[in-house]
Amino acid sequence: MNPLGFFSELVRLATDPLTVGLVLVGAQVGIVFGMLPGLTATMAMSLLTGLTFSLPATQAVAVLLGAYVGAITGGSRSALLLNIPGTPAQAAVCLDGFPLAMQGRAAEAIGLAVTASTLGTLFGVAMLALFAPLLGQVALRFGTWEFFWLAVFGVVIAGSLTAGGDPLKGWIAGTLGLLLSTVGQDGIHAYPRFTLGRVELQGGFALIPVLVGAYGVSEMLTVLRRSERLVVQTRLDRVLPRFREVLRHKGHIVRSGLIGTFIGIVPGVGEDIASWVSYDVARRTSRDPGRFGKGSVEGLIAAETGDNACIGGATIPVLTLGVPGSAPAAVLLAALTIHGLKPGPLLVLQHPETVWQVVALFLLATLAVFVVSLVFVRPMVRILLIPREALMPVVYVLCVVGSYAISARIFDVWVMLGFGILGFALREMGYPVAPLVLGFILGPMADDNLRRGLALMGGDFTPFFTRPISALLVALILLTVLSQSPLGAWVRRRGRPVRPAVLLREG
C-alpha cells in the first residue's frame, strides 16, 4: 500500500465541505448516543446505516465512522458526571473518572478523557494504516481455547480491580454475571436453559437492560437512599490538559494503545475488555497504584486510550479478513457491504485506495469528535450543579427508554429494574457491579468456546493448557488470583525489606 495514496485521499476528503459536514453530524449523533445510558455505538451506527443508505459510499462511511468514534468517546461523559457508563466500554472509566468529578475536577477529567480518547483512536488508526495485514494474521492464531481463557481473564481482572481490598467480592460478582448469562437458549445446541417455560426468556436477558439496570438504576437508588444533599462545585479554569502533563503519561498511552489495538483485532472481544486490560496494566506499572479507584489520572487515561484504540484495531479484521472485531465494527462491515465494498483479503490487494479512504475518514472523524467534545464541556459540567434528587428521576426515564428501545418489550424494562435492584444490593454490601456486567457480556463467549474446544478434541482438556497463547493466559489468570490471595500477601510480606526502625532496635 502506497503512503502517498493515503495523503492524497486525506487532502481530498478534508477539503470536501460535504464530507467534513457529514463527519461532524455523525460525530455529534455518536456523542449523544454514547452519553445516554442504554443507547450504544452499535445502535447509533445501525440507525445511521439506514438513514445514509442513499448517500455515496464514501459519505455514508464518513457519517458512520463519525458516529462510531463519537459514541465510544461520548460514553465517558455520563461515566464521569453520573457514574453511569454511556456504553459498556466505559465501565472502567467510572472507576477514576467519577471520583475526579466528585473532587471538583470534572472539567479537567473530561479534557483528559477527550485527549486520551483522541490519542487512543489515532494510535489505533496508525496501527490500522501501518500493520493491517500483519496484525490480522496474528489475531487469527486465537482459537476457541484462547477465546475461553480471554473471557475468564477479563472477568478475573475486572473482579480484582474493582473490589478494593476484597477481590473475592469482585470474583463473586463476576461469577454471578457469567451464571446469569447462561439463561436462555445456549449458543451451540439452542437448548433453553433456566427459562421457566417463559417465551421472553428464550433469548436470555438482553445486554442493554442489564447494563442500564446494574449501573443506572442502582446509581439512582444509591443517590436517593441518602438524605444529605450532594452538590459538587467544579473548577472551570482549564479543560485541555497541558502538553507536559500528557507527555508524563506517554508510557500508559503507548501501552494502552497497543493493548486496545490488539484486543480490537481479536474478533468478538471489543472495547470493554480493551479498557479493563489497559486499566489493569496501568495499575500494575504505576508508581502510585494506591490512587487507582480514588481519582487516578493514570487510570482514566489508560482506560480511555485503551477503549478508543480498540476502534482502529477492530477495523483491521473488517478490512483485511472481512471479520468484525467488535459489535459496532460488525455494523460497519455490513454498511461497507451494503455500499458495494467487499471487505476481505482481496480488498487490500485490489482496492488499496478504499483502505486509505477509511483511514483518512477515521482521522477526520477523530478530529471532529475532539472538537465537538470540547465545545460542550462547560455547559455539560453544570449537570453536577443540579440537585441529584431532581436529576435522578430524569435519568430513570432515560433508563426506561433505553431498555425499551432495543426490542420494544416491556419485559426488558422489568429486567432492567430487576438488575437495578440486584446491582443496588450488591453495591450496598460492597460488591462491585462492573464484574457482574462484564461477566454477563463475556459469558456466552466463555460457554461456547469451552464446549466447542472440548468437542473439537473429544473431551480432552489438554489444549486449554498447552497451546502457547492459552498457557500465557492461564499463567496471567493464576498470577492475578494468587497475588490477591492470602498466599500472595504472605509472599509480599516475606519479600518486603525490613524497616530501619526494626533494624535499629535489633542492632
Partner: protein
C-alpha cells in the same frame, strides 16, 4: 477488623453467603435437569456443563464468605439490623422502588408522555429535589424532550 464495623461486615458476609448459596444451589439443581448426554451432544459439549461448573464455583465462593463471617455474630443481631436499616435509609429506598415499579407497571396503560411527567414530578417532589413549581417545569420539559428527541429525531420506539 474489630468492633461494630467488623460485626457489620460479618453480618453482610453471612447474609450474602446465604443468598449466594441459595442462588448457586438453585442453578446447580436446575442445570442437572439438563441431560448430560443425548443424541445431539456428549457430556463435554452438553448445555449443562458451563452452568454446573459456574454454580459449583458460586457455591464455593459462598462457602468462603460464610466461613469468613461465622463466629463473629453477636446475640443482639435482630435489634441492630432494625436500627441499622432505619439509619441506612430503608424508607427512602422503598419509596424510590415504589415509584420505579409503579412507572413500569403503568407503561402501555397510560400515554407515555403523561406517565413520564407524572413520575418525574412525583419523584422530584417526594425526594425534595425541587419545589412544586420547578418540579412541574422539569416534568413537562422532560416529557416533551423525550418524545421529541427519541421519538421524532432518533426514531426510537417509545412504550
Amino acid at each position: 477488623m474489630g468492633g461494630a464495623a467488623g460485626k457489620t461486615v460479618a453480618v453482610a458476609d453471612v447474609l450474602a453467603g446465604l443468598a449466594l448459596a441459595a442462588v448457586g444451589a438453585g442453578f446447580l439443581v436446575a442445570s442437572f435437569r439438563i441431560p448430560a448426554a443425548s443424541a445431539l451432544w456428549h457430556w463435554y459439549d452438553s448445555p449443562r456443563l458451563t452452568p454446573a461448573l459456574l454454580s459449583g464455583a458460586l457455591l464455593l465462593q459462598a462457602a468462603t464468605l460464610l466461613g469468613r463471617g461465622r463466629g463473629r455474630l453477636d446475640p443482639g443481631l435482630r435489634t441492630r439490623i432494625r436500627t441499622g436499616l432505619q439509619k441506612w435509609g430503608a424508607g427512602r429506598v422503598l419509596l424510590a422502588l415504589a415509584f420505579c415499579t409503579g412507572f413500569v407497571t403503568l407503561l402501555g396503560r397510560l400515554p407515555f408522555g403523561y406517565l413520564v411527567a407524572l413520575v418525574v414530578f412525583g419523584m422530584t417532589l417526594a425526594f425534595r429535589g425541587a419545589g412544586p413549581g420547578r418540579a412541574a417545569v422539569l416534568a413537562a420539559v422532560t416529557a416533551v424532550a423525550v418524545q421529541l428527541v427519541f421519538g421524532r429525531l432518533f426514531f426510537v420506539p417509545l412504550p
